[in-house]
């Protein structure tokens, strides 16, 4: 199994940290992982994306031409990455960030209203975990237990009391993602 994922959105949406938690969870399951950010003059509101590869085999290139799954959180990211999803692949998009949804017929398209859900739950900072929950529902790349273990490993001790909130967010994402 090799899963090649691009996560793209605005800086500040938690794109890079979502990728990091996914990669860490993969590592905890003994898989091979690579996390490759498109680093730039970073700023809140600028574009951010990260390629995450989780595989049973050693990962060749951290830089890819096409992806199994694209998680897109804003319109420019959708425009950039929709053509780069492999036929038969998956796009997950956030309803709040995208006005013109994807149109390809040869891929599976999922919508997740994660921004709305995060606002409703009054947990705006867990937006990225809601999206991650959506991914794990349709594509269990890693187990939820590994994600929680990854959170324990990567979050500083002082934030550990927030892990249950993150778990709540992941479960919310699993609940609200829907196929179009």
């Amino acid at each position: 199994m090799t899963e090649e994922i691009i996560i793209a959105g605005f800086g500040g949406q938690g794109v890079l940290s979502m990728g990091k938690i996914l990669a860490y969870a993969g590592l905890m399951e003994g898989k091979e992982v690579t996390w490759m950010p498109a680093y730039g003059p970073e700023q809140r509101g600028g574009t951010a994306n990260v390629t995450v590869i989780v595989s049973d085999d050693p990962v060749s290139s951290p830089i890819l031409s096409s992806y199994d799954t694209a998680i897109v959180l804003n319109q420019p990211s959708l425009e950039k990455f929709e053509p780069k999803v492999k036929p038969g692949g998956v796009i997950i998009y956030d309803g709040y960030g995208i006005n013109e949804p994807p149109t390809r017929k040869d891929i599976d398209i999922y919508r997740i209203d994660a921004m709305d859900a995060a606002a409703e739950m009054n947990l705006i900072k867990t937006f990225n975990m809601i999206v991650l929950g959506g991914l794990l529902k349709i594509h269990p790349v890693v187990g939820i237990e590994s994600v929680l273990a990854a959170l324990r490993k990567t979050l500083p001790e002082r934030h550990h009391h927030l892990i249950p909130k993150n778990e709540e967010a992941i479960r919310k994402g699993m609940e609200i993602i829907r196929k179009l």
Partner: protein
């Protein structure tokens, strides 16, 4: 064992952790994207409180390299890191260290140039690293890591080679290897050498004239041309020995290959993916990955010429290593180059297209 823990980190962070663990005595550097995490991680780890390693942010790259020069004179394991424009600033100091035959480690996490260029990954400092970026007839020992694991492993290797040959060594990485996170097993802790061990291992070092030994004078200056030629010949003899003994490379799917890609660092990773794709389309292609860029695996590339119908040099630059490949194959086989410039990384599909159209 705690030392053997598998962890996830950036290439730059791996360099910093590996430096502490291999008993490095001092790091002198100045921040620049995309390598700043080296200095940041060292500052975070505070090795001066544990191993006693000095970590210093100098006022410039010029200062950093001269601090490295000074530290190296005393036989200490010292290093610096920077990215392309910063490494250009260091060239005078590097040439002096090569001339004075001093061991040290310089890490270059390359970004696109020329000039200040961009902060995105590039491999356009191959010439500078391998052909003597400063003045004079000299070489650095140049290691090209292609993974975060190799970033960690090559720190100790670079120091080992630098001390074995009394010559500066360079880890030539790029923004992609520096910024990406992968699994890594950090090397085990090695204590820093004691003063006594340094005196024993480096009888040439300026360690203080204990027991009335002859003064050790370290300089790259010798105004008598006859003497300077002798020094040069000795250094050149050392380079021939390094060329004979220290070539390192990796072969990937070359056994039945009809075509070969030669690529180093992150370009070699892209090449592996391109090879997977090309082979799925029935094109038999393999990879030769130089791990030491200097000494270059000339004999291995030469041997390839007898086995394949064509060689593609995949580099994230306008064509630098391709010159060494062409010298090695002596016109026996067509050699093409492909690269992207200015911080753009070639993607695996376009490499496959280039392969198809090149031969």
């Amino acid at each position: 064992m705690a030392d053997q823990e598998i962890t996830l980190m950036k290439g730059n962070e791996a360099i910093a952790h590996a430096a502490i663990r291999c008993g490095c005595d001092g790091y002198f550097g100045y921040p620049i994207t995309p390598q700043s995490e080296v200095l940041e991680t060292l500052a975070e780890q505070k090795p001066w409180e544990t191993t006693g390693m000095v970590v210093l942010q100098a006022e410039s790259e010029v200062s950093s390299i001269n601090m490295v020069y000074g530290g190296a004179c005393t036989g200490k394991k010292v290093m610096t890191s920077s990215s392309s424009p910063g490494v250009s600033l260091m060239q005078e100091g590097i040439s002096y260290m090569a001339g004075a035959e001093l061991p040290a480690l310089i890490v270059n996490v390359m970004r696109g140039g020329p000039g200040l260029g961009t902060i995105q990954p590039s491999q356009s400092d191959y010439f500078q690293a391998c052909k003597g970026g400063g003045h004079g007839d000299y070489h650095l020992i140049v290691l090209a890591p292609a993974s975060v694991q190799e970033m960690a492993d090559f720190v100790d290797l670079a120091f080992t080679l630098a001390f074995r040959y009394r010559n500066p060594a360079m880890i030539l990485a790029d923004g992609a290897i520096g910024q990406m996170m992968e699994k890594v097993v950090l090397p085990p802790f090695k204590p820093r050498r004691t003063e006594e061990e340094i005196i024993k291992e480096c009888p040439w070092a300026t360690t203080g004239r204990i027991g009335g030994r002859k003064p050790n004078i370290i300089t790259s200056l010798e105004l008598r041309s006859e003497e300077m030629e002798v020094i040069n010949l000795r250094i050149q003899a050392k380079y021939r020995e390094i060329e004979a003994k220290e070539v390192r490379y990796e072969e990937f799917m070359l056994d039945d290959a009809e075509y070969a890609i030669v690529a180093f660092g992150s370009a070699a990773r892209i090449a592996k993916k391109s090879i997977e794709i090309a082979r799925s389309q029935g094109i038999k292609v393999g990879l030769l990955r130089p791990i030491t860029l200097w000494p270059f695996p000339t004999e291995e590339v030469k041997a390839l010429a007898g086995r394949v119908k064509g060689i593609l040099s995949l580099e994230i630059n306008a064509g630098q290593m391709v010159e060494d490949i062409r010298l090695a194959v002596e016109g026996k086989v067509p050699v093409r180059h492909f690269g992207r410039l200015g911080g753009i990384i070639p993607d695996p599909d376009e490499v496959v297209e280039v392969l198809k159209s090149s031969f």
